[in-house]
Symmetry: C2
């Protein structure tokens, strides 16, 4: 499987898929948990089992801090019990959608969503008579809050909006949608936000955004390992959401019904304690970071890279300009071909295609092939972005 | 969190919950994947993304070998595509149950099941009018095949039987149930077997057992890390099972419907590649082991330990005698109290309570407190079992 001979040094620019490398603290946390502890959480009462419980509770506590608003009278802090642990962002979104919808409901969503939202909604549409209205976006992948709100009616049960497009990085007006929703005909509707591309990169206070449910993977901007996901619940969602899976919870084991208490109501089966230990380390680093300053730097780097690439002949750049995610279209190359050249000739790892977001491409004019996506992290050295720009210059010059 | 001062050396006897320690090869596989590779699987086309795909495909190939019968005309080998990867055994069982049942179905199961089967079935019973018949077991936790078959009727859609009790280690007559089911009024019914306690310990050929679906965690007998589970499908189940979650699959991304092809139809979201690299290493070691010889040794050790403990005053031993899982009841101690003494005074880690198997205890006469459960592995040194017996002798002598 190793073909490292004659390969250029690796430049990883696929952070929108998963973050790599992780920090040394994350690696060590996983390794220590695996090698030195290793007990299941939530079951036994011996010391090492309690250690596993402590790892899990620390993740909840840190994640609750991350999504808790600055303590003001208007914004209550999120409790650790309202942080539900899952296997990935998709599992969090499925739990949210399947846990809230009922046959015949009305749902509003956007063309900028990932298949982890669109496909569960399509299941409800095709099997359970749910009406799904999909709001269009503009040529950078942004939706307008008024377009979302215009589709909400008294029967609307759920509004599902991605915080930022995984294709263009365009950030959606979630706060405006939330404010309008609460004043409109469906004030009780649930607002679900997919923070896959923003958790760890932008502020995601549940109350500040005004959302009821915030879903995110642990392995992207939060710096944790693959195998982790979070679903954070506001009070109304916490009351109403039903489990997607049922099973052992290590509590109230004499009952065949799931416990009603959170988080047990929504978590069955063995938690992935080693990966959660890594996520705790990632969350700690995330909380220590100056989020505003990092976001500003990343915005500046993105805008600079976008304008540099836009000057190259035959390259169209599509970018929301707020997050380090850029989509490119090359007039003379299929995006898959360009990705292959970047990998093999330059050691640059980027992704080509639809990025599991099928509907956005008709608005970006990038259907059916999709785009070449560049995504980076605060840890990406500037020299790697320079190498990317030089490599694309060479590629463009070949036309 | 570390309270290692003055603690006796650690004796881990909770292998029925999760295996620990893992082998050095498993640790190294996880660490190498995390540190040196780290790409998402099934999405990108660059070299490291293809490496992740190769890790995933190796798990499928090895697991398919594990559940494939010795190549005979009667027993077809299981294909890698029929091995579905999940986050744990509970997720595998939920996928099986929710993916097959429809409102109004009839189901037969047993009192020896874990809550990961009983609770999803209770959901279908209470919400969707499914009739669930639960077959009693004997005082060691064993069910009789004729009792299962007597409850099957023409409307039976699913028969769910645990391969071995997680409380007593009693192995169920799955082959007899399978053979009878195929000759009875519900020849088309699906037979689901929960191999949580037997995968890696007993032969689990899908065709030899005669089952349609075999669910198992990756982190117990198979030696992999937490965060891994498998659902292996026979041809009829592969045809009929529907996804429990929908989302990005990295394939047919232009469609809002899930792909119909396996395994993508049933797998959404990012796979846990580092843990799967560890599971591949665990599966390799499992396949290299002489399963029959190891099972025989484990049986002998179990029987010897059980008879040694049964001689102690005030201790009742409940054991199927086939797998290294023993339940104890102490006449003078609550099982939780006994577990705490074993941990703090002797460094022995065992579990007390119902073990997420609520119904079996009425047949073992261990309701409502449950049992003290000892579970070990082929890697458990005999000296640790001796220390356990000596510790229990001391505890019993205190009465």
């Amino acid at each position: 499987m190793d073909s490292s001979l004659n390969k250029p040094a690796r430049i990883y620019l696929d952070h929108a898929a998963t973050g790599w490398p992780k920090s040394e603290a994350v690696y060590r946390a996983v390794e220590t948990e695996l090698r030195e502890h290793g007990a299941a959480a939530g079951r036994g009462a011996y010391g090492e089992a309690l250690h596993s419980n402590a790892v899990v509770e620390e993740v909840r506590r840190l994640a609750a801090r991350l999504v808790s608003s600055s303590a003001t009278a208007a914004h209550a802090a999120v409790a650790g019990e309202s942080v539900v642990l899952t296997a990935n962002g998709t599992a969090s979104l499925n739990l949210a959608i399947h846990g809230l919808l009922r046959p015949g409901d009305h749902v509003v969503t956007t063309a900028a969503e990932h298949n982890s939202v669109l496909r569960p909604l399509e299941w409800w549409r095709s099997r359970q008579g749910v009406v799904v209205e999909t709001v269009p976006c503009d040529a950078s992948g942004r939706v307008r809050s008024e377009d979302v709100l215009a589709r909400v009616n008294g029967r609307t049960r759920l509004v599902a909006v991605v915080h930022a497009s995984n294709v263009t990085g365009a950030v959606q007006p979630v706060e405006e949608i939330a404010a309008g929703l609460r004043r409109g005909p469906a004030a009780e509707a649930m607002l679900l936000c997919d923070a896959a591309q923003t958790a760890g990169s932008l502020p995601i206070g549940l109350s500040e955004l005004g959302v009821d449910l915030l879903a995110m993977p642990g392995h992207k901007g939060l710096g944790g390992p693959l195998g982790t996901g979070l679903l954070c619940l506001g009070p109304r969602a916490a009351e109403q959401i039903e489990p997607l899976m049922q099973g052992g919870t290590g509590s109230q084991s004499d009952r065949l019904e799931m416990p009603t208490k959170l988080p047990e109501r929504l978590e069955s089966g063995n938690l992935n304690v080693p990966a959660l230990a890594g996520l705790a380390a990632g969350l700690r680093e995330t909380l220590e970071r100056d989020l505003e300053a990092t976001a500003r730097q990343q915005r500046d780097r993105t805008v600079e890279l976008a304008s540099r690439l836009a000057e190259l002949p035959g390259i169209r750049v599509i970018s929301g300009g707020e997050l380090p995610i850029l989509s490119l279209v090359l007039s003379e190359f299929d995006c898959r071909e360009a990705a292959a050249v970047l990998d093999t000739a330059f050691g640059i790892e980027v992704r080509a295609g639809l990025h599991c977001a099928p509907l956005i491409h008709r608005y970006l004019d990038t259907a059916p092939s999709g785009t070449l996506r560049i995504s980076f992290a605060p840890t990406t050295p500037q020299s790697e972005l320079d190498q990317l720009a030089e490599a694309l210059e060479e590629v463009a010059a070949q036309c």
